[in-house]
């Protein structure tokens, strides 16, 4: 299977190790992974801000860059959801392009969804001998149905999952919402931190870097220096920056 890996602009800029971890997982699942170097952003900030023209231009760019692959995989439910669920809206009046966009969308997956349901990954490379709590990011959950997949994979690392209250409630990130309505956004992030920390888990794990930056940012501002905030790919690939403790 030839995979076009969509890095996402946030992973490229902020946390490249998530990208490398995701590729490691895809390769462990037997995929051939290519990373088109002209890729930039899926266009979601423009789309959600009402700038259809900009979003359409970037969607077309993604189409041309990724159309040749068997699958497109992104370490983000938000970006994968943009491509699969929202791109068709941008081409609703262009039948020829719409067909191509829909075909691309049908082959576009969030990472854990792809690993479980398409690549059927058996074992995972990572080992995590600790407790985690999982935050369900909105787009992955409600647009793509990502909920059991990351949990199933996390269980294979040896991690103990402790569910938080309201794991499916928005963390308040919302892309540009987080910088337009900072105080509301921070308040929602605070609720998320309280619920996550109440589990006593060592790490808050999620599948979307935007949410994770929001949660980590609020966590540190609250003075929590110890709870780790990790992308699910880092944990699954054993790239979370800490050696696994040996079983006694």
């Amino acid at each position: 299977m030839k995979i076009g890996f969509f890095v996402t602009c946030l992973v490229d800029l902020m946390r490249p190790r998530i990208g490398f971890a995701a590729i490691r997982l895809l390769e462990a699942a037997g995929c051939t992974v290519e990373v088109p170097m002209t890729q930039t952003c899926c266009g979601q900030p423009g789309y959600n801000s009402g700038d259809r023209a900009s979003a359409r231009a970037l969607a077309f760019k993604v189409l041309e860059e990724f159309e040749a692959f068997d699958y497109v995989v992104a370490p983000s439910g938000s970006c994968a959801g943009m491509i699969r669920v929202h791109y068709p809206d941008l081409f609703r009046d262009e039948p020829a392009l719409l067909a191509r966009i829909q075909a691309l969308g049908a082959r576009t997956f969030e990472l854990t969804d792809f690993l479980v349901n398409v690549a059927k990954l058996e074992g995972v490379p990572g080992r995590f001998d600790g407790t985690v709590t999982y935050h369900d990011s909105c787009a992955g959950l409600r647009e793509l149905g990502v909920q059991d997949q990351p949990r199933a994979l996390l269980a294979r690392t040896g991690a103990e999952l402790r569910e938080m209250t309201e794991s499916t409630t928005c963390c308040g990130f919302g892309g540009t919402f987080s910088i337009k309505f900072g105080d509301i956004s921070a308040r929602l992030a605070d609720d998320k931190c309280v619920n996550a920390c109440a589990t006593g888990a060592e790490a808050i794990v999620g599948g979307d870097l935007g949410c994770l930056l929001n949660i980590e940012g609020r966590l540190r501002r609250r003075g929590d220096e110890t709870t780790r905030v990790l992308h699910v790919a880092e944990v699954l690939a054993g790239e979370d920056g800490q050696p696994a403790r040996r079983e006694p």
Partner: protein
């Protein structure tokens, strides 16, 4: 009602800093959310019910004019008078004319959001007519001169101590603190008004074309008194509330209370059909039904038409994290939450509610629980697009988005930009790897740190030949 929506951001900040309100708002999460989930689970195939509800609303909207004409014929045949109001001013003028012709001095009202939309109480009081709100929540708000903050639980923002204080001050009676005692006190004050009112005013959750009936769902019984005791009953509602048949109504009756409060049925379901007949012992002598447009026809012919399917259950606001955090008053007009983020700009003008379609994270929980499956986030996005098309967004935001999109279409430039951005952000970060103040996004760092990026972008490392597994420096 005055439109305070342009000040959403400032009002929201104020609400976030109000500890009493914050405590009161926790009831939304604790009560409504689990109650709706339980009711949906107990029902069985709630998804099928939602589909059925949506299909009924779509059928009504597809031939709205025909169903409305049918409604008018059937209602008229049963002795009611149907009035058509283009806007709030016309609706108020119709009520005032009815009041004048019949020498009305006192009107008792049951809850009606459409009457809030029209500011009907102000119009009546301006004409010297005494108006008494008889829904407990609305009554409390009337005493305190406040608008509702929720469409189903209008006084959700208040606690019982505040209400006890208010009753003591306004009723001149000894202060009661128990909920039952407070309710009894309100009941004692309100009962004579039902008996002495010349006119009863209600809204309508639905109007049924087949029978010319108006339908209200209530829990307190005041609706039934208001619609049957006074000699004149005026029902005021929006033209979109029509449903074709009683059979259709039965589906929506299953959907609405479960979605709103988690009840299988409200305590009262009143189907008002025609005036008091010969030999009947109750019912009004005159039954006037005012059907308000106020922008609805325009919406029907727009890309936001789906919003007219709304049955006003309030599930969208109950499940909205933003509503849960700031409450209804922050939204600044009649309808709060996701529903209000769409209805307010549609009915008061896009330019008068610029923040509202943006005041959501687009998390999608509202549409996940909407009983008639309205894709509320998509509709908010359409309003955002209209703002951009009409150049209503701030110039800096428009330029910023254009610049970002232009750079993102030029990969080399983009790569350079991100390399520089990473260096800049790391320069801003302190020794613990976090940025405390970010000039480019001050709203972020007012309540959160901004985690510093890793030293080099993914693109730099990949182009340098780094691959997973054996990368030096991949673990900072």
């Amino acid at each position: 009602m005055e439109v305070a929506s342009p000040r959403f951001k400032a009002r929201a900040a104020h609400k976030l800093a109000d500890p009493a309100l914050q405590k009161a708002l926790t009831r939304v999460k604790i009560k409504f959310v689990p109650a709706r989930a339980q009711a949906a689970a107990d029902f069985g195939d709630f998804e099928a019910l939602r589909e059925a509800g949506r299909a009924i609303r779509d059928r009504a909207l597809a031939d709205l004019d025909l169903w409305l004409e049918r409604f008018e014929r059937e209602a008229t045949a049963r002795g009611a008078v149907v009035h058509w109001a283009r806007d709030a001013a016309e609706a108020n003028a119709i009520v005032l004319a009815i009041a004048r012709e019949n020498g009305v001095r006192k009107a008792a009202k049951s809850k009606s959001m459409v009457s809030e939309e029209c500011a009907l109480n102000d119009a009546l009081e301006g004409a010297g007519i005494e108006v008494i709100e008889t829904d407990l929540g609305e009554y409390i708000l009337q005493l305190n001169h406040e608008p509702p903050s929720h469409i189903v639980a209008p006084v959700i923002h208040k606690n019982k101590e505040e209400i006890a204080d208010l009753f003591e001050e306004k009723h001149h009676r000894p202060r009661q603190t128990g909920i039952a005692e407070l309710c009894r006190e309100a009941r004692e004050i309100l009962r004579p008004h039902f008996l002495s009112a010349d006119m009863g005013i209600s809204g309508a959750n639905f109007v049924v074309a087949e029978t010319g009936s108006t339908v209200i769902l209530t829990n307190e019984g005041n609706g039934r008194l208001v619609t049957t005791l006074p000699r004149i009953h005026v029902a005021i509602t929006g033209i979109e509330k029509v449903v074709p048949t009683l059979e259709d109504l039965s589906v929506l009756l299953r959907l609405l209370p479960r979605s709103a409060t988690g009840q299988t049925i409200t305590n009262y379901v009143s189907v008002n059909t025609g005036t008091r007949g010969e030999g009947e012992s109750d019912g009004p002598q005159q039954f006037h039904i005012i059907l308000l447009d106020n922008g609805r026809t325009r919406v029907l012919h727009s890309e936001l038409r789906e919003m007219l399917a709304c049955i006003r259950c309030g599930a969208c606001m109950n499940h909205c994290p933003v509503y849960q955090a700031v409450g209804g008053h922050a939204y600044g007009w009649v309808y709060p939450g996701p529903m209000g983020a769409i209805l307010t700009p549609l009915y008061v003008g896009l330019e008068n509610a610029l923040d509202l379609p943006h005041a959501a994270t687009l998390c999608g929980q509202c549409s996940a629980v909407c009983p008639v499956k309205i894709p509320l986030p998509d509709l908010m996005r359409k309003l955002r697009e209209q703002q951009v098309e009409r150049r209503l967004r701030p110039a800096a935001e428009r330029r910023g988005l254009k610049l970002w999109a232009w750079v993102a279409r030029h990969p080399r430039l983009y790569a350079l930009g991100t390399r520089l951005a990473v260096r800049y952000l790391r320069w801003l970060a302190d020794e613990t790897g976090r940025i405390r103040v970010l000039g480019l996004a001050p709203e972020w760092t007012s309540g959160r740190d901004f985690p510093a990026p890793e030293p080099r972008t993914f693109r730099e490392r990949w182009q340098a030949g780094e691959r997973p597994g054996a990368q030096p420096g991949a673990r900072p």
